[in-house]
Subunit: 193 residues, 4 copies
Amino acid sequence: MSKKENIVHAAIQMFREKGIDKTTVSDIVKTAGIAQGTFYLYFPSKLALMPAIAEEMVEKMMEIVKLSVKEEATFQKKLEQFVDAVFLVTRDYNEVQALIYAGLASTEHLKEWETVYAPFYEWISDLLQEAEEANVVRNTMHIDRTAKLLIGLVESAAEQVYLYDNTDEVEVNRQKQEVLSFLFHALGVKESI
Amino acid sequence: MSKKENIVHAAIQMFREKGIDKTTVSDIVKTAGIAQGTFYLYFPSKLALMPAIAEEMVEKMMEIVKLSVKEEATFQKKLEQFVDAVFLVTRDYNEVQALIYAGLASTEHLKEWETVYAPFYEWISDLLQEAEEANVVRNTMHIDRTAKLLIGLVESAAEQVYLYDNTDEVEVNRQKQEVLSFLFHALGVKESI
Amino acid sequence: MSKKENIVHAAIQMFREKGIDKTTVSDIVKTAGIAQGTFYLYFPSKLALMPAIAEEMVEKMMEIVKLSVKEEATFQKKLEQFVDAVFLVTRDYNEVQALIYAGLASTEHLKEWETVYAPFYEWISDLLQEAEEANVVRNTMHIDRTAKLLIGLVESAAEQVYLYDNTDEVEVNRQKQEVLSFLFHALGVKESI
Amino acid sequence: MSKKENIVHAAIQMFREKGIDKTTVSDIVKTAGIAQGTFYLYFPSKLALMPAIAEEMVEKMMEIVKLSVKEEATFQKKLEQFVDAVFLVTRDYNEVQALIYAGLASTEHLKEWETVYAPFYEWISDLLQEAEEANVVRNTMHIDRTAKLLIGLVESAAEQVYLYDNTDEVEVNRQKQEVLSFLFHALGVKESI
DNA sequence: TATGAATGAGCCTTCATTCAT
DNA sequence: GATGAATGAAGGCTCATTCAT
C-alpha cells in the first residue's frame, strides 16, 4: 500500500473513532506509523485530505453496491439490494460521510465533489435508464435528476435511522421497507414484473 | 430580545458569514455586543449553542412553511408550497443547516435532535394524515416514517441544487418540478383531485 | 510597569542573552512572567515587536546621550562625549542594535524606522546647527545629511570595535580618538575654539 | 563552475530574491539544481554557508572596486570612484550585505569575518598609504584605523540612502557628494592637487 | 449579572538534517 | 559522490474557558 493510501486509511479510521473535528494530524500520523512531517509530503494541508477521503469513500460505496446488486436480479430486487448496500455503508461510515458533507462543503473543494460523486450518480442513472428501456418504470421522469433524488432519499433515510433513531434491527428493516415502498411508487415500478 | 436569544442570533449571523468552523466565541460576542465572559453565563460551552441554534432554525423553517402553505389549498398545491419553502430556507441558510447536521451530529447532543426537529416532522405527519383521510393519497403508507422520508428527500434535493449544482433559476425550477413529480408518485397522489 | 513594556523589556533581555533568531516567543513570555497567549494581546505577531523595541532602544540611547553630553561643554567636548555615549550603548546593546537593523529591515516596517530614529537625527542636526551658527565648524555642509553621516560613522566604528576587534580598553580608546580626529577634520572644527 | 560555487551562487540569488530568513535549504538546492542531501556534502550546515557567501561578496565588491577605480586617476578622483562602487554594490546587494552583518555576527563565525573582509581593508589602507606618501592627505592619521572608518562611513551612507530614504537618482547623488565632501575634509585632502 | 484581560493546552506547519539506496 | 524521501523537534499562533473585579 502506498504511503498516501496509508495516510488516507489512517485518517478514515481516526475520523470514525474520534470524529472529524477532534482528529488531529498528529493522530493520523501516529496511526499511519509515519512522522509528522511525512504527512505534508503527500498533502499540502490537513484540509487537502478531504477530497482524497471522499474519493476513497465513494469507491468503497461503489464496491459494496456492485457487490450487493446482482446483475441478474429484477429491477425491484436490484433496488432492494441497493438500499441494503447504502444502509450498510451508512451504518459503518456515517461519521465519515458527514465529513464528506461538512469537510468538502466548508472548504473550497465544492467543485471536486461533483467529480468525486459522479460515478455513483452514473451508476444509478444507468440502472434507471435500463429500467425505463425495459418499461418497468414510468417513462415520465428525467433520468439524471431522478438519480440524484433517489440517492438523496436513500442516504437521508439511512442517516436518520442510524444517527438519530434507535438502531434496532426491526426498526431498521421497517424503515427500509418504507423507503422501498416510497421508491416503488415514486418510480412507478410496474408491479406485475 | 433576551440576551440568550441575542447570542443565538449573533451566532447564526456569524455562521452564515464566516462558516461554522471559522466562527469563534469572540466573533459571536462581538456581534452580540456583550463581553466574552457573558457568553458563559448563558451557555456552559460553545457546543451547547448548537441545540439552541437548531431550535431557532427549525422555528424559522416552520414559520416560513406555515406562511407559504395556504390552509385552503389543495394537497397538491400544499406540497408544492412546501417544497418552495424548503428550497427557500436551504438557499438562505444551507451553511447553518450543515451545522445542524454536522454540529449536532458530531457532538453528544444527538438525542436533542429528535426533540428539536419534532414539530417539523409532526407538521408533515399531520398534512399526510389529512391527505390520507381525505383519500387524496395512497393509504398504504406509514405516516410518520413517510413524513421523515419526505423531508429527507426535499431537503437533500434542495441541498444538491444549492450547494453543488449551478443555482440558476431555471435549473432550480426544473429540480423542484422533478421533486414534485417524484413525490406525487411516491405518495400516490390522486390526479383527479 | 505596563504589561506591554514588560514584554518589550523581556524581549530585549532575551535578545541580548540568546540572540535574536534564537529567541522564541516562549522565551519572552517566560521571562516576562506571562502566558503565551497574553503576548498576542499586545502584539499581533512576533515581528510586530521590532518597532517597539527599536523605539525603546532609541529612547535609551537618547537618554544616555543626553546624560553624557553636557550643555555647557564646548562643541569639541560635546562631540567627544557623544562618541563615548554611542560606544557605551553599542557595547551593551550591539546584539539588539543588529536587531533593529535586521529585524526592522527584513520586514515591512522600514518606514517606521525613519520615524523611530528621527529624534536621534534631530538631536545631532541641532548640535551641528548650533556649531555652524557659532562658527566653530565649516559652513559648507548640509546639516541633515551630515548628521546622518556622523551617526553612521560613529556607530559603524563602535560596531567594528566591539563586534569584530578585540575589545581591550586601550584599543577601544585609540579607535575613539581616531574617530574624533576623523570627525574634527570632516566637520572642519576650528582648532582655536 | 564547481558544485560548491554553484551552491554559493544559488544561495546568494535566493537571498536577494526572498531575503535571508525566508530562504530555505530547499530553495537553495532547487535553484542550484542539486538534491537536498548533496548540500551537506559541501557544507556541514546551513550556517556554514555564511562565510563562503561573505567571501564571495567581498570578492565581488573588490572586483567592482578595482574595475571602477582607475590606476591613473588622482586621489580625489579615486575616492569618488570608490564611493560610486560601494553605492553600486550596496544598491544591488544590500540584502546580502545585511547577511554579512547579521548572519556572520549572530553566529559563531565572528573570527572569520576579519579574515574575509581583510583584502578590502587592505586595499583601502594601501590607497591611503600612497596618498599620505604623495602628501595629498593629512599625515596625522592612523592608516589602518582610518581605512576602517572610511569603509564604515561610505557603507552606512549607502545603506541609509538605499534602505530607508527615497532612492531617486538626484537624492542619491546629493548623498554621494556630501559623503565625498565629508571625506575630503576628514582626510585633509589637499585641494590644490 | 456583567466584564474582558489573562490563561495555556494544543494545533498546524516548517525545515534543517539524516540515511538507505 | 549523489539522491530525495523521511524525520521529528520546535515554533508561531489560536481560542475556548476562567476569574478577579
